[in-house]
Amino acid sequence: MTVVTQAEIVEALLAFIALPDAMEAEFEAMALKVFAWQFRHNEPYKRFALQRGRTPLTVKRWRDIPAVPITAFKDLTLSCTPPEQATHVFMTSGTTQGVRGRSYHPTLDVWKRSMLVNFRKRFMRGRERIHMGILFPDETALPNSSLAHYLGLARRECGTPDSEVFIGANGLELDKLFAVLAEAEASGEPYALLGASYSFVPVLDALAASGRRFALPEGSLILDTGGFKGQSRELTPDEFYDGLEAAFGVPRASCINMYGMTELSSQLYDDGNAVSHPVKSGPHWIRSRVVDPLTGIDLPEGQRGVIVHHDLAHFNSVSAILTEDAGEIVPGGFKLFGRVDGEASKGCSVAVAEFLAAARG
């Protein structure tokens, strides 16, 4: 059965998310349905698929659904509905060329359900609510940030009423944060600190400078996401998670990294960072592959390539996305190894990165 209206696809997806799990065949059926929807309503994606000879008639396996390079979100409007009808437009932080990738959402119903069901399972782990501290501006300050919305939703739906945001108009509110952490430490109640990875760095630096450290109660959690993006100094995973454990007394196994992106409607998580590069995985409505970047062909387990996500919840745009992240398929999910960077030339011809750097001045 093909879906005809947006209401129908939203309903089908909400039902799919509500399932306890999905086998390959169930995922495939839903994925093909979403592909047919996007092929019909997303003109640039249709052209992209046609150029590859992949249409709803020829594609029989979810793995054959053509994956759009993530850069396309910068240059094209990838939306099944007219973009002006979007209630929310999420934009990337514009990491490379000053152009920001955009995802258009005519409704956040699926996005929110996807986020919450998965967040409860992977972060809350059976807890109803937890006292949260957020190290990221809220969605009033950053209305186009999917991360601000994510953290806002987490705080409202899974945080205790006294949960707070520690980034205000004047930036990071360290004194307030340290006071709350001290209270949490004394209270014996678990505490959760959530934010962009780079937001933790100045906190770690301030604590190190004052020689101060906290020992948050057992059961406390940390969630970081997004890496450093040139917003703070770069730390290796070991430096970062050792630093968090030492500063807050939260063992590395309780430090969870969320892997998400503006160009998706679902998030992927690990189960703690006791070791570097832990296995990451998503819920049953997203599947990830690792492919050879040139041929797009799936690589066998253990071989490093580029990650492709098929996120059915991202129904209004394109569900199949070729990222710029390096990864390896392993039992239970995949390992993430940061961005795949193009290399400078081996000779004396100028390559893209150097050229762009110079063009930016």
């Binding site: 994606y45 910068k74 795949v340 960077d341 030339s345 100028v350 150097e354």
Partner: protein, 482 residues
């Protein structure tokens, strides 16, 4: 087998530390040993090269140096010579280029260093090359003498085979005591060449050393950077900036940054007969050295109005790239290189989604061709046989499209009528293009080429003038004065 790189006169090879690196390609592998000198060894080497140059090289006639280079070069051109055989065997394994590319490339490149071509090098830069041997009268009156640096340091980069010989030969021609730092991606040819020179003329061999250190490593490079009078360096602007910051202000710095080449095809070159041949030449320039050369084309501007449209020409080039790939397979790519191509292809595929570009070829092909119908600025591709063709109404539009990237310009390949060649040449010269070549020869500069628009020899020397009046004044102090 371990191949030891470098040429280190006066140092005991047994006493040196060697760093071993492994290379594999085309089903074979080789281990190289690169010398790692400690500070005392490096300082001693600089001292001895400088002193030997002062005592010997500077006192030689240029003709003797030309003879030695010519003889060394003749051996490398001789396909039966053991060293040439070794070069043909090892360079493909180390650089990854296919055997035929290396063999043909070496021969065509080495031909620029035979005696007649060396004399051309000299004549290009010096009205009277004898200024390198002694004071010579000048047109304005007085006398002129030119000296190369006592210690010239070359910092090479890149994997294009034997590229280092260009600056090494230039240094020797101006009698500079020369120390070359090998590129990690091609750390062989310069050392072999220096060893040949030493074998042919041991005195010159004493004035020349080929070393290696890990790029940017303070301890390895410091003694050399301190000792050199002149530094000729190749690399990215980042590398060059870092290097310049470490040099004493009195050191002459001659940088050669990364460049981007492009081609221009006029409508007059696009009839059905000429266009096929031209596409083959363009494909040749793209495939030779996998676009790693500063002179390699990354973009072609193709004029509308010929019998063959720009879109058709793009297909011709794609066909020729397919044909070339059979004879000269593309090197095996490192993960990051594949990623660079994939990234570039992604951007082009995205534009194709918007209907603004046509991407020819499958991702699995060992080349990629993109064709766009609207004019756009010069930009680099993903390298390794990735080319963009841009249709333009008239080639007159091109200078404006490349002018913003002046600092990266060097070679332009032109296929147009003689009249237009010179018209376009004027405009290109004005915006910073320094070399204009035909398609098919973009990767093979002629002897005496002014690299990056500079004078290969003249930039190295310092002249001493005896002013005319000095000569007149000295007359008064002659023993035979009346």
């Amino acid at each position: 087998m371990i191949e030891h790189a470098g040429h280190l006169p006066g140092l005991d090879a047994q006493a040196l530390r060697w760093r071993h690196t492994s290379h594999a390609a085309w089903g074979e592998s080789v281990t190289l040993a690169l010398p790692e000198l400690d500070e005392a060894q490096a300082t001693a080497l600089c001292e001895s090269v400088r002193n030997n140059a002062r005592a010997r090289l500077k006192r030689m006639e240029t003709a003797r140096i030309v003879d030695a280079i010519d003889a060394a070069n003749a051996r490398l051109l001789d396909r039966k010579h053991p060293l040439r055989r070794k070069a043909e065997h090892l360079l493909p394994i180390v650089t990854g280029y296919d055997r035929e590319t290396v063999r043909l490339g070496l021969t065509s490149y080495l031909k620029t260093f035979r005696r007649p071509q060396l004399l051309r090098f000299l004549a290009e830069d010096f009205a009277n090359p004898a200024v390198l041997d002694g004071f010579q009268p000048t047109a304005k009156g007085g006398f002129l003498r030119a000296h190369g640096p006592e210690l010239l340091l070359h910092v090479w980069a890149g994997n294009v085979p034997a590229l280092s010989l260009w600056s090494l030969v230039c240094g020797l021609l101006v009698k500079a005591g020369s120390i070359g730092k090998l590129a990690s991606a091609e750390p062989l040819t310069a050392g072999w060449f220096a060893n040949l020179i030493a074998e042919i003329d041991p005195e010159i061999g004493q004035c020349l050393a080929i070393v290696w250190w890990k790029g940017g490593e303070e301890a390895g490079e410091a003694p050399f950077l301190k000792a050199a009078d002149t530094v000729m360096a190749y690399g990215s602007n980042t590398t060059l900036t870092a290097l310049r910051a470490k040099l004493p202000i009195t050191t002459r710095f001659l940088p050669h940054g990364h460049k981007i080449g492009f081609g221009m095809v006029g409508h007059e070159a696009l009839d059905s007969r000429k266009a096929t041949a031209l596409a083959r030449l363009a494909a040749h320039d793209v495939a030779r050295y996998e676009q790693q050369g500063c002179y390699s084309p990354q973009m072609l501007f193709v004029e509308r109005g010929g019998r063959v449209s720009p879109a058709e020409f793009a297909r011709y080039v794609a066909q020729e790239l397919t044909a070339i790939a059979h004879r000269h397979p593309r090197r095996e790519l490192a993960a990051a290189e594949s990623a660079a191509i994939a990234g570039w292809r992604s951007t082009q595929a995205t534009r194709a989604m918007g209907g603004a570009a046509e991407l020819i070829g499958e991702p699995s092909d060992p080349w990629s061709v993109v064709h766009v119908e609207t004019p756009e600025d010069l930009s680099p591709t993903g390298l390794n046989r990735t080319l963009k063709l841009v249709a333009v109404e008239s080639l007159d539009e091109v200078p404006a499209l490349v002018a913003p990237y002046r600092n990266f310009l060097q070679t332009a390949g032109i296929a147009a009528s003689p009249k237009r060649l010179f018209q376009l040449g004027e405009e290109l010269a004005e915006i910073g293009v320094t070399r204009i070549a035909p398609l098919g020869r973009m990767t093979a500069p002629e002897a005496g080429w002014h690299h990056d628009g500079r004078f290969s020899l003249l930039d190295l020397v310092t002249v001493t003038e005896i002013e005319q009046s000095t000569e007149a004044a000295s007359e008064g102090f002659a023993p035979y004065v009346d």
